[in-house]
Symmetry: C2
Subunit: 81 residues, 2 copies
């Protein structure tokens, strides 16, 4: 099973990487750039009997390692077998 995990900063949390990207885009001449947020995608190949089990396993991975729940949200998507 392959799962894709999206980790994004919670709204209201300062996102310096997103801010830097927004400034760089404006400097490059793009106009009307508003809020920019930067996050991570992590795709993991794991062994699980079904999609639910894969999702649960990915959830534990997020809680323990992949996301900082204080400042980040995560969304788990099971891709296929």
């Amino acid at each position: 099973m392959r799962v894709r995990i999206h980790v994004t900063p919670k709204s209201g949390v300062l996102d310096p990487q997103g801010k830097a990207i927004g400034n760089a885009l404006t400097r490059l001449g793009f106009q009307g750039i508003g809020d920019v947020r930067a996050g991570k995608i992590i795709e993991v190949q794991l062994e699980a009997p079904d999609a639910d089990a894969a999702k649960n396993q990915a959830k534990v991975m997020c809680e323990r390692l992949l996301a900082n729940k204080v400042i980040e949200n995560y969304v788990i998507e099971v891709l296929n077998e």
Copy 2:
């Protein structure tokens, strides 16, 4: 308009960040971890008259700044107005 851009390493390109995450998951006791790939999500608020224009603008941003086309793929998703 808000667009979400997914930037991921091309398959075959070495992905040290993904590798490090995979090793860390294995060390934490997760079993059967296979290939892990790490990428970026960038959400940009921009001014565009319609979804097509927003997508085109995001494409130019990817080509010029957000993605390194030699080693990365990108996918653009227009979220809503």
